[in-house]
Structures are given as structure tokens and as C-alpha cells.
């Protein structure tokens, strides 16, 4: 089912995020890429329930029989908050690393911290 729809786009976004995670060495951009990967999964889950003729899962609307699947939407709310929590903590840790190593370049931090161990 490759075509212009939410699921395909979300897989493409996942791929872009992975490329960013691997190829960009700046930790801030790496975290942005990680956020993209997480958002991609959220888009995937929401797109699962989406139907062109659907209605929001709120029963007050007249077409109560046409509501879209509420379950993925409910779990996605948790996923969004978890992603935010991860991001906030990761940023704090990057701050602490910058204080020590004066750089956000992952390779240089890696080398500096490996050198400390010896």
C-alpha cells in the first residue's frame, strides 16, 4: 500500500530521522532527529485509524456511527508526553556535557570521555 498516505509518509519520516541521527554529529540536531523519529511513529498510529469519511471520536457529533478509531489516538497521547520527557532530560544532559567538554560534537565528546577513562 505504497502511496501518498499517512503510513507511507510516516515511514519516510522515520527514515529521514534515522539519517539525521546517524549523519549529523551535533547533539542538538541529533535530538531533533530523534524527535522526528518519535513523531513519525505517532503519525503512523494516528493514520491507522483515519478514514476519509470518518468523524472525530466525540459522540456529540451527529454521525456517531462514523467515528474513527479512538484507541490509537488515546495511546498516542501518552507517547507524545513520553517523547517530551525524554527530550527535556536529554537536553539537560547535553547542557552538562557542554559545560565539561565545550562542544556538542558527538565524536569529540566520545574521544574526550574515552581519554578520561585511561
Amino acid at each position: 500500500m505504497v502511496g501518498l498516505n499517512g503510513v507511507t509518509i510516516s515511514v519516510v519520516l522515520f527514515g529521514i530521522g534515522l539519517l539525521g541521527l546517524v549523519l549529523r554529529r551535533d547533539l542538538v540536531v541529533k535530538l531533533l532527529a530523534l524527535g522526528l523519529v518519535n513523531s513519525a511513529v505517532i503519525l503512523c498510529l494516528v493514520s491507522l485509524g483515519a478514514r476519509p469519511d470518518g468523524a472525530p471520536p466525540i459522540l456529540a457529533t451527529p454521525a456517531a456511527s462514523a467515528i474513527v478509531d479512538p484507541l490509537p489516538q488515546a495511546i498516542v497521547l501518552s507517547a507524545i508526553v513520553i517523547n517530551f520527557a525524554i527530550l527535556a532530560l536529554a537536553l539537560v544532559f547535553v547542557m552538562l556535557l557542554v559545560e565539561r567538554y565545550h562542544t556538542t560534537d558527538s565524536h569529540r565528546i566520545e574521544r574526550a570521555s574515552a581519554a578520561e577513562e585511561d
Binding site: L4, N5, G6, I9, V12, L13, I16, G17, L19, G20, R24, D26, V28, V29, L32, A33, G35, L36, S39, I42, L43, V46, S47, G49, A50, R51, P52, G54, A55, P56, P57, I58, I67, V68, Q73, A74, V76, L77, I80, V81, N83, F84, L87, A88, L91, V94, M95, H102, T103, D105, H107, R108
Partner: protein, 262 residues
Amino acid sequence: MTAQLVLLALLPITAGLALLQRRRLHAIIGMGAFSLLLATVFLLANAPDVAITEAAIGAALVTLIYVLAIRKTGRLTVAASETPGLIGREGEQIVGLEWEILERLAADVGLDLVVQFASPEEVEEAIRRGEVDIGAGGILASECGENVLRTSGHLPTARFAVAGPRSEPGGKPAAPFRGELADVIDAVRRGAPVSATLDLARFLALSRYDLDAYAIERVEGDEAYVFVLPPSRRDLHQRLAEILARLAETGELDSMIRRHFP
């Protein structure tokens, strides 16, 4: 329906462009825009709850803390080996002739200056890998490697071969200086064997100690201190060269040299 498809197609484009940004602030703003687009897609996909949460958290709060966290001014990273008089630490402060020149450059291009001290070979390596913007600290024009940009010398200097104790002068010239100056000084103080070619600034620092037991010989040839830059920073090289030329023209360079090498 069409609006939805257009928005969906915009998502990877926005995300890709955002992650390709050279400056972090641009990347962050790009991802903020992506989150907003994503929230709109959710709204159109009949997921208003998710849309509100994504807009409040993903677009607003996350972008906010990123923007707060990052430094708005960029950095100019310098790798330097400590050389007394040129660039070195004095307590918390960094002082020296080259440091002052670099401060001018940083003010000129509007960036914060960050110095990482390292041994000469580490500086060379960092420049070769393009990990830092400028290499400094007693780098001699004749010793900097291939494939790097270097400025014209800002201070003429000479080289001295120090060998001993109790070795005959006139032998094979010692290898160029490597490692930490502090180690050489330490060796001299203990009277341990030393064989190194030092530039004038480092030699002056060393000559404060008792060198009677060592053979000292001036190495022939004219030398000058330079800055080195990775080949990718041609723009920065240009700016540095301009600043050096201006300093030399106005005579400011001479007074700076006199201040640091009385």
C-alpha cells in the same frame, strides 16, 4: 482531502530541510514548523485530541525549551597548544599575543571564542579533521602540514635545538617539538635527558631555568608563527588575513608584540 495530501507531502520536505540546516537555530525553527504541520494533519485526520496535545507540547513547549537552551551566538573554536606569550592560561584567564588577535577576529565576525588546549599533534589532527575552526599556539610556518590554510606569519621567530645533558653540539638536529612544554621544563629541572627543537617563545620560557648542562644550538633558517585553518574555512581565513594586515598597517601589531615580549 486535497489539503490533507498537500500537508502530508509537505511533512518530509519540512523535516528534511530542517535537519539539513547548518545553524542549529534554523533547524529548531524548522522542526517547530514541522510539528505545527503535523498537528494540522492530525486535526484533519479527525484526531483533535492528538492535535491539541501535539500543538501544545510538540510545537510550543519543545521548540521553546530548545530555543532557550541553545546559545544564540555561534562559536569560534580554537585548538591551541599552550605557548607562553602567544596563548596560555593565567589562572582562569587566557592571555597572549595570539589570543588578542583571535579576540579581534571573534568580535569582527560576531562569534564567541572557545579555546581548547591540546598538544601540538592534537591541534594538527583537529585541523586536519576540520573539527575546529582555527589552530594556534606556536605553530611554525615550516612545520604546518599539507592541505591546511595558513596565514602569513604574524611574528618572526627562530628555532633552538636543546640537547643534553652533556652531549656534543653539532650532531643531528633534534626532532621538532612535540608533547607538552611542561614536560620539557620538568625534564630540565630534574636534569633528565632532553632532545627537542623549540621555537623562540617556548625557548624563552625554558631559558628561565638552568640550561648550563645542555647543548643549545640555533637552527638555521627564518621562521615565523602562523595560524592554521582547515581548508573548508576559506572565508574565515580571508577575514583573519584582513585583520592581520590591518593590525600590521596601523602598527598595533608591533605594540602588542612589545607588550607580550618585552
